[in-house]
Symmetry: C2
Subunit: 344 residues, 2 copies
DNA sequence: TTGTAAGCGTTATCAT
DNA sequence: ATGATAACGCTTACAA
């Protein structure tokens, strides 16, 4: 009965707790030996190991990673903040990212932050409080306060889906400005001079829209009409967008650069409904090269970004650093590719 | 110089660490007061609060949730295991689930487990080691070992996306057997007697396939041909499936029940390529009612499941329990709805 | 309103 | 090969 009052009180609130000490007692060794048996088994005799494992089996002991993290100052947790989970573009990226990490023994703390900087700041703070071993952010625009917190955390920080010469720490992505300019170049080279954009509510998409419009103008095209969608990309909003452009801008010819393949699909469907021939009358270009793009009728011209590679590279830069890689600025440009199909 | 050697060693390896003690020293109070200032501010005087916040500001202090979790025996972490992140069906579910939880102050520890029970078991173990306050699983089929671990964890466990009278703890979903029977009933009532299935590699989809085939047979239909896809659902695999059914089963009439809308879209596209009229010659039914289903040509008949509500209900059952709700078995059947459109 | 002390369950260090 | 002991940075109970 050497328990203090506090201990007794806790015992009452909670169920029986199996710890390394419990296991050790049962196996006739101290708690430390149990810890060793799990993390450095070759430093423990075969017989002891056997007894410990048998005790673990009997008790159903599950090591407490929280205590381990506190003691070792390593959480084996990696944070990821993405704007959207339901957008396949990001979810497939998260998938490859987390696959690589899990293989290396890390777990994923995930948050969807939308496109509001304030939301992101709150998410960053709450993630950092968990002391992740590294953190992944989407995009390169973060509030000053966010940058300060991240720098202060003193962990690897990867900014994905974009490129900058001045990342907080490391970045893996591609240039949205370059990609948009390439699309404009392709459009002009193909002979379209009239263009419009349909853009979802996404900061990177906005930058693509602007870079595209600027390039078109500088190449001698007519001013680019723009339709910006309220919410996330959907077929319905794509249809509404085309409908709006037709009505508001009397647009029935030229090319429309959409911020995502889903929007483009919406435009394609609406065009068909309005009996507008694509690409005969109106050409349509998407972004992302999702699986369905190649199967649409007409097949969709779009911009391909290697999302899987993006996820893997992001994970790799983190793992390299965590495995003792020197702390240097890393900027990986994965590029993009214009995939020319029937729609433009 | 009252530091022990261990402390000194740690100091060397790591950067300067800002803790509540640091903040307290700067604000002229003890560490506990800082803790109180953050968790129960009204128990701290206004002036002290001011000094503490100023110190927090200056130091960039971020509370260590790991230490907090260890001390309080509450991690404020919720685990979720889903078979796939890239499948919108699950990702939208995860989204609503995590939205509800975040609002309540919890963070999401997420793993994609695929459809292999072994993978799931490993994931469960590694999640439980983080001592989540609750855990969400997809489906109701888990290994005996998994059930034992989960029971031992003594936390709320929600099994989602399916229904059973004997959940590990709580479950929220719908009956895949009922849904498939309803589809078969609809099919027979509509007058089709010949049917086939196209099924992705998903345990619940397999059960739907079997229940559908059994009902068709018991209602007097001809034996149901089946095409099972290797990997996850995709348009390409849907196209290949139809092509296979045509070739192998000489199927050019009747109805095909697909395990997902994406597969169904693939079939629709392949049918068009083969100049098979839908639904004139071949009727097609999907599953899930994704956004694009209504926009396809012909619009897709499918089974609607309210994924958002599923995510929200799953979160709610957890939160209710965590907020002191009595520990009783909860089984929520969200049902389904056959959405009749042009394709069947 | 504030402080002291114990404890959370590990890992790290140093002895034996 | 094993153990004793001190952190890790908080929260809880209790005292002042």
């Amino acid at each position: 009965m050497s328990d203090t009052k506090a201990t007794q009180a806790k015992r009452q609130r909670t169920g029986v707790r199996v710890t390394m000490a419990t296991v050790g007692r049962m196996a006739g060794v101290s708690q430390v030996t149990v810890s060793r048996a799990l993390s450095e088994p070759d430093k423990v005799s075969a017989d002891t190991l056997r007894r410990i494992h048998s005790a673990i089996e009997q008790t159903g002991f599950v090591p407490n990673a929280i205590a381990g993290a506190l003691a070792s100052q390593r959480s084996r947790l990696i944070s990821a903040l993405v704007p959207s989970l339901t957008n396949v573009v990001y979810s497939s990226f998260v998938k490859t990212f987390s696959d690589s990490l899990r293989e290396a023994g890390y777990q994923l703390l995930l948050s969807e932050t939308g496109f509001e900087p304030e939301e992101e700041l709150k998410a960053i703070a709450s993630h950092l409080s968990r002391r992740p071993d590294a953190i992944l952010l989407t995009g390169i625009h973060h509030s000053a306060q966010a940058r300060k917190m991240l720098l202060g955390a003193d962990i690897p920080v990867v900014e994905a889906w974009d490129i900058t010469d001045t990342p907080i720490d490391m970045c893996v992505g591609f240039s949205h400005v370059e990609a948009s300019r390439a699309v404009a170049d392709y459009v002009m080279a193909t002979g379209y001079t009239q263009a419009a954009t349909v853009t979802a509510n996404d900061e990177r998409a906005h930058r693509r829209r602007d870079a595209f419009a600027a390039r078109m103008t500088s190449l001698g095209g007519t001013p680019v009409a723009a339709h910006d969608c309220e919410g996330p990309a959907s077929i319905a909003s794509g249809r509404a967008a085309l409908s709006d452009l037709i009505e508001r801008e009397a647009l029935r010819t030229g090319v429309i650069f959409c911020s995502s393949d889903v929007l483009a699909q919406g435009l394609l469907i609406e065009a068909q409904a309005c009996e507008i021939n694509v690409p005969g009358n109106l050409a349509i270009i998407g972004f992302g090269d999702q699986e369905f793009a190649a199967h649409l009728e007409p097949a969709l011209t779009t911009v391909r970004v290697d999302r899987n590679r993006l996820g893997k590279e992001a994970a790799d830069t983190i793992l390299t650093r965590l495995n003792g890689g020197e702390k240097k600025r890393v900027v990986v440009d994965l590029g993009f590719e214009i995939v020319t199909r029937a729609s433009a």
